[in-house]
Amino acid sequence: MSGVAIRVEGLGKKYRLVHRSLRNYRTLQEDLLGLPRRVWSAARGLGAQPETFWALKDVSFEVSEGQVLGIVGRNGAGKSTLLKILSRITDPTLGRAQIYGRVGSLLEVGTGFHAELTGRENTFLSGAILGMRHSEIQRRFDEIVAFAEVEKFLDTPVKHYSSGMYMRLAFSVAAHLDPEILLVDEVLAVGDAAFQRKCLGKIQEVAKGGRTVLFVSHNLNAIEELCQAALLLEAGQLRLLDRDVRLVLKRYLFGEQQTSNAAEWHNSGTEHRNPWFQPMRFVIADQHGQRHSLPLSNSDEFYVQVEADVSQPYPALHVGYAIYAEDGTLLYWSFQTDVPEPDWPTLHVGRCVLRCRVPAHLLNEGTYRLELLASLHFRKWLLEPGVNAPQVSLIIRGGLSDSPSWMAKRPGLLAPVSPWTVIR
């Protein structure tokens, strides 16, 4: 009984880029005043074409009944747009999707909650907004409240709830909606660890119950744990869809490029243009500044080296890198400004070359991903993690320690060799 639950054919969504200002509504005045100009330019056939971009482009796939599909991609890859189209919040520009079953979407926890209303009132309201009938909510009311553990505060306005209670109730309502197809977007990003585990468990339960689930998350561990297939979106296009979830995640994390040149990133000259810090090269280097060939041995020390053009030095410029394990777990951030201010390395106008030493015997065997970060402190990101940061990968194999006991990969993310002594 594995029919199709969702069939997506050539789905595309085009947005108009709005430069004028941050708001996206218009005022009558602007439109009326702009009318003569638009008519004039249209008449001359030069119509100032509004700049557009495709948030989603020619995406086709099928999800069979009962399948749990993970959707991964960097920010802006079109994941949320896809879910928004499938949950009918916004319309596609092209293509179509056929959906075989009642859809419940969980795009944000607490949709429809109002601070002034009590827990009870909010439960009914939020349930109805998510598409439940009144009788349905009534039937499952006790269950919802028990899951959220807020029995005592049902008649208290939710503005007096702790954020944990609020989240639990909000998620609980959504989790008890009984759709045949569930769309989940990043709800696990909120709440504490215990709450996240509970959410994950509930989603797992839904999935085991034979329901179809589409699951967007940056939590790759969760994706790997829950999903039977994964879909990778890149710049609005479907890059890879496979039952081998690990394969998709790997492609997402490390891209298509192969190990040899992955240790180096080059700027063609047009990317990341800015006067403060335009990165030109990002490389895993040896002590002479030459690119290291991969894999590295655990006993090698290496340098994270950045070359960048500076035309206008900024006093609080922070440059650093983030390093991620294969499953996406962040190991640490390091910035040139981690030391007391007088010791900060100063950048000069022109081509700067900065590097940071990573000691030997720190990282375990495995594949790592490094992102180059830069920010004008407290003002804006120039290179933001997960958004536009250039990345390279790093492979470490062998040379774990000189100990006879640990020749193979050690458990854990790190494999530092720290000195031990007997003090008593």
């Binding site: 029919g3 509504y25 949950s87 596609p92 520009t93 179509r96 056929q98 949709t111 429809g112 209303l117």
Partner: protein
């Protein structure tokens, strides 16, 4: 601009290039569509619980942190009616077709306040609940509908006050009262039609919400809310009756106070205008609806 066309429970049709299709038809088909669509009544009906909950929320929230609560609903028109009665009836000596001026004004204020309130709340409803629109699907018409329904509850309270006033002034009820639901329906149709227009346009152009209070004030004085139609010079009567609000206000007075005569031509015109507004409003709303989530 393209739109989302949702066709419910309809088979996808024969499609030569398709692989083996499941037996059952899709629950929904999502695709860009062209052209105009009227409201999806069946879908709207399936969301009726949400309508009542949202209307209830509106009423609850409005008077949540107030000491007087629902008394405000009574106080506002009552004080307004008193002021108008003193100024226009007592000082201005305007005719009131034989009824006490307070009752006369109150009978006009009730439908007007309902109409104007619905317009104001419903017109802004999509913007106020933009976070819902951006996150969940439901028929968007629900929001202006719920705002109007919430005003209906206010209306019911003021109607009770009106009957109390009639008791005080010892004005008898007549059989004409039976026609009141029809006039209420007419008012509702007009309010809904205008709300659909207004709320949809307000998403695109926020100007409407600034223009509205001013517009409503002008409109109120252009309608026989605080004065009788009889004071309008004969020459202007024709133009005056083009105002669709005249129809339902006069209808309310006629059925509640039992005075005056009903101008059937004018009433018919009001019905036609009301229905046209509603149908065109529904079309426009549907037309713009698909872009709400992108614009809000």
């Amino acid at each position: 601009m393209s739109e989302l066309n949702v066709v419910e429970t309809r088979p996808p049709g024969v499609n030569a290039e398709s692989a083996p299709r499941p037996e059952r038809p899709p629950y929904v088909v999502i695709q860009p569509a062209r052209g105009w669509h009227l409201m999806a009544w069946r879908e709207l009906w399936s969301y009726r619980d949400l309508l009542w909950l949202l209307a209830g929320r509106d009423v609850k929230l409005r008077y949540k942190q107030t000491a007087l609560g629902l008394i405000w609903v009574v106080l506002q028109p009552l004080v307004a009616a008193l002021i108008f009665a003193v100024i226009f009836g007592h000082f201005g000596k305007l005719p009131s077709d034989g009824s006490p001026y307070v009752l006369f004004v109150f009978a006009g204020l009730m439908p007007w306040n309902y109409f104007a309130g619905a317009l104001q709340r419903a017109g802004n409803s999509l913007v106020v609940d933009s976070n819902l629109i951006r996150r969940v699907y439901f028929p968007r018409e629900i929001l202006p509908l719920a705002s109007t329904a919430a005003m209906l509850i206010d209306f019911a309270v003021t109607l009770a006050v009106f009957f109390a006033l009639m008791l005080i002034y010892q004005v008898p009820l007549t059989w004409r009262l039976l026609a009141l639901p029809a006039f209420l329906l007419l008012t509702t149709i007009m309010a809904l039609g205008a709300s659909l227009w207004l709320s949809a346009l307000n998403v695109q152009y926020r100007d409407f919400m600034y223009a509205l209070p001013f517009l409503l004030q002008v409109w109120m004085y252009a309608s026989p809310v605080v004065y009788a139609t009889s004071i309008i010079p004969k020459a202007w009567q024709g133009l005056f009756s083009l105002n669709p609000a005249v129809g339902f206000i006069e209808g309310f007075r006629w059925s509640l106070l039992g005075t005056g005569t009903l101008d059937l031509t004018m009433l018919f015109a009001a019905c036609v205008v009301g229905l046209l507004t509603l149908v065109s409003g529904a079309y426009v709303f549907r037309r713009i609806e698909r872009t709400f989530a992108d614009v809000l």
